[in-house]
Amino acid sequence: MPKSVRYLTPLVIFAALVALLIFGLGNDPREVPSPLIGKPVPEFTLPELTDPSRTVSDKDLKGKVSLVNVWASWCASCRAEHQSLMALAEIPDFQIVGLNWKDEGRDAMQVLRMTGNPYDMIGYDPDNTVGIDWGVYGAPETFIVDPEGVIRYKHIGPIDRKVWEETLQPLVAQLKAEG
């Protein structure tokens, strides 16, 4: 390799990195709506995490506004979010449905024992069977589902007070008014 070309290598690598970051920005999950938005939730049936004799299915998402939260015990951001969910759990008129994703049931139960259980029900999906249908690619993710069972919004990343107050709360209020 000629000497002058060798010194260009760092610049070329950096250009590749920038291309990746531009892709990341353009593809900002917060900006691009999920293709599932406006569509009914995919059909599914999963065992309930805390009580394997029960099941959680798409039918459980009808008749009420639901906040479907994808979480796992190994996910650090979920821990941060957990505290907010605990606060939301006290608000009536909508249900919080958990999707415990790519997790060990034992570890997940430990988290719930430790930090409380904000969920009205939790589908246990260790093998990502339901997650794939829902287009989940990371945790935490949260879907807002209206009483007809239609996905209305997808939020990627933890829910904090700002996200709740500025985005989710108005939407939930609107859906409740519609329903």
């Binding site: 000497k3 002058s4 010194y7 260009l8 760092p10 610049l11 950096f14 250009a15 920038v18 990746l20 970051l21 531009i22 892709f23 990341g24 920005l25 593809n27 900002d28 917060r30 900006e31 190994w74 650090a76 951001s77 821990r79 941060a80 505290q83 907010s84 605990m86 606060a87 430990q110 024992r113 430790m114 930090t115 409380g116 990502n128 690619y137 990371g138 990627i156 990343g157 933890p158 904090d160 007070r161």
Partner: protein, 660 residues
């Protein structure tokens, strides 16, 4: 009025930065002395303007002026005074202001302490810093003005994120930022040298102490962050490989490579273009860290402010700064003579290997951090890069680094022989093999190979450095000689030894805590007892306790070893009045050889609580190691060579073979 004054000061700082970026540089290229002489006053002016802006924001926070949007979003009138102050950098806008303020502090320090540098170099260095400042000030004024007003004025602020209401986190960001922006000095020196076309050993000598100081701050900042995560998140972990943690680790890794590479460039004139590249990378990674944290490209526990428009701006800025410097490098570096030949067995080779390992680790961390993006871009499906992956990579590289760390300082510059090294270090080698054997004995070990390996590596570091000290003092008599050595030219040597021993201490901490920690989740009611790792935890119940701006459930524990009570612990669960997020405050009985850690979960009815108990052996050694490294850095920069540098224009290069 005062917030507007702060805003005006910010705009003036931008004006100063524009002048600073153009005139001194142009002067240095055309030989216009008055223009070059503008550099120092401009650096002071920049600092003064940003100090005024910062003071204005501080005033708004301390008087709880909620007509300022940023104050209303990040403070609350009930907040204790100290947190009202630290809330200044509790969000995005204020963090940025702190960042530029600290950068201008470095700029002013360079201006004040560079009396012996050629005027052209000073002019170029300060100009480069001005260019970086332009980017940050434009960013603030266009997308994130901390002085924006809010109308109508809310009666109460939204409160500082409870996670940040903590003494550790109050000082963590300023330390970290001092490190980040400190690398802007090394960067500015490197760019100035590239522009001037003079990449000689003088350049390395000038930027060396600055780089070390920046590295010290970064080391302390990262250690503080890790310590905070340990006691505040309530999960007993000390490092999560979170994108934001990685963002601070990458500049540290490159910075560590840089301070070693600078030593070679200064003393031997080798690695010149490589060192320049590292200086560019160290600062670039600091900027990239900012981008990752602020843009929302990656989600993280720490990403408390994310906004894609801001992300786009930082990305553009990144392209200009990093792309520009790398283009300059591609243009100028081929003209640099490589100089300073050396043999395969030599200190240069050891330091080169050190550099390559650090860079390799940085690349891995960068890949891991960006993995979610990369996987998405190439549609690779399931992401397998996570916490265990990082740990595996770390464990794969760290042992090589530790072995090398014992060899490098013992090796001679330019040419050495393996035989001489073996003759010198055989005792250290024998002792560490003995440690390996003893720790691997059945009954001592839990059957995990990492414990003997980790302890043997730590022993290797300890004994090889003790041999270095012995050899250094061989021809000197008594402890007075040692004190004289410490007063004279020896400090950079002892600084190096201390920092390297810090690595040994760190290795012991990590090895012990990863392999011997114990934890238990239990449900306990008042009067219940629980055993863990030979300690008995007695729960006396929890009661409601009010705090200044929160209400807490406060548990009471007595911890016994045998029949002797050794600690009383009061873990808390706090609900902040400003918002609904409850926080866990773990209670820790800290000790040099073990921590006992209790964190309060949820009430589970009937006065019972879900609890988490931890036994963490040697966990303090992790941060103690970092403290050693930082102290080593402090010793090195207070070496007489730097203290007397003011009176000397050039120090004799290669006069002392120390301080690598």
């Amino acid at each position: 009025m005062i917030p507007e004054l702060g805003h005006v000061a910010l705009i003036l700082a931008l004006v100063v930065a524009v002048v600073q970026a153009s005139f001194p540089l142009a002067g240095s290229l055309s030989g216009n002395r008055p223009w070059m002489a503008m550099a120092r006053p401009l650096a002071y002016g920049q600092f003064a303007m940003l100090a005024i802006a910062f003071a204005a924001l501080a005033q708004a926070f301390l008087t709880s002026d909620f007509s300022v949007l940023y104050v209303a979003e990040n403070s609350n009138s009930l907040l204790p005074q100290i947190y009202k102050f630290s809330a200044i950098w509790g969000g995005h806008e204020g963090s940025l202001l702190l960042w530029v303020l600290l950068m201008s502090t470095w700029g002013a320090a360079v201006a004040a302490l560079s009396k012996n540098l050629p005027q052209g170099v000073v002019a170029r260095v300060i100009s480069v810093q001005g260019m970086v400042a332009i980017g940050f000030l434009l960013f603030m004024l266009l997308t994130s003005n901390p002085f924006e007003r809010l109308f109508p004025v809310p009666p109460e602020g939204r409160d500082l994120n409870p996670l940040l209401q903590d003494p550790g986190l109050a000082i963590h960001p300023p330390m970290l930022y001092m490190g980040y922006v400190g690398f802007s000095v090394a960067f500015a020196f490197a760019i100035a040298a590239l522009i001037g076309g003079r990449l000689d050993t003088a350049w390395a000598r000038w930027s060396r102490p600055w780089t070390t100081v920046a590295w010290i701050f970064l080391t302390i900042g990262i250690a503080l962050g890790s310590w905070w995560a340990y006691y505040e998140l309530g999960w007993g972990g000390w490092w999560f490989w979170d994108p934001v943690e990685n963002a601070s680790l990458m500049p540290w890794l490159i910075g560590t490579a840089l301070i070693h590479s600078l030593a070679v460039t200064e003393k031997r004139g080798a690695f010149k273009s490589w060192t320049v590249l590292l200086a560019i990378f160290a600062f670039s990674l600091s900027l990239l860290g900012t981008f990752l944290v602020r843009s929302g490209v990656l989600t993280s526990v720490h990403a408390f402010a994310t906004d894609p428009t801001r992300g786009l701006f930082i990305l553009l800025f990144l392209c200009v700064v990093i792309g520009g410097s790398l283009a300059l490098y591609a243009w100028r570096a081929p003209e640099v003579s490589e100089g300073g030949r050396f043999d395969l067995i030599s200190r240069e080779s050891a330091l080169l290997a050190n550099n390559l390992l650090f860079v390799a680790f940085t690349v891995l961390v960068l890949f891991g951090t960006l993995a979610p993006l990369i996987y998405e871009a190439f549609d690779w499906g399931k992401i397998s890069v996570g916490f265990p992956w990082f740990n595996k990579m770390f464990l794969a590289l760290a042992p090589f680094l530790a072995v090398l760390l014992g060899l490098g300082p013992a090796a001679r510059w330019k040419h050495d022989s393996l035989l001489r090294l073996v003759r010198m270090l055989w005792l250290a080698l024998a002792l560490s093999i003995a440690v390996l054997a003893i720790a691997a004995l059945p009954g001592v070990d839990h059957g995990n190979l990492w414990v003997p390996v980790g302890l043997a590596l730590a022993a290797w570091l300890l004994f090889s450095h003790l041999i270095l000290i012995r050899d250094r003092l061989k021809h000197k008599q008594g402890w007075q000689a040692w004190v004289a050595d410490l007063r004279g030219n020896g400090r950079s040597f002892y600084g190096m030894v201390l920092a390297h021993l810090g690595v040994a201490v760190f290795v012991v901490g990590v090895t012990m805590v990863m392999n011997y920690q114990e934890e238990q989740d239990v449900r306990m009611g008042p009067g219940d007892s629980q055993e863990l790792a030979g300690y008995r935890f007695e729960f006396l119940g929890a009661e409601k306790t009010p705090g200044p701006n929160y209400r807490a459930d406060r548990g009471h524990f007595k911890v016994y070893k045998g029949d002797k009570q050794i600690a009383e612990l009061y873990p808390e669960k706090r609900s902040y009045l400003g918002g609904g997020m409850p926080m866990t405050e773990a209670a820790i009985d800290a000790g040099l050889f073990r921590d006992i850690y209790v964190s309060l979960g949820e009430p589970v009815g009937g006065g019972d609580w879900a609890l988490r108990l931890y036994y963490k052996p040697y966990v303090r050694w992790i941060w103690l190691g970092a403290i050693f490294m930082a102290l080593g850095g402090i010793l090195a920069v207070t070496d007489r060579r730097y203290r007397t540098a003011k009176s000397r224009v050039t120090a004799p290069a290669g006069a002392t073979a120390v301080g690598a």
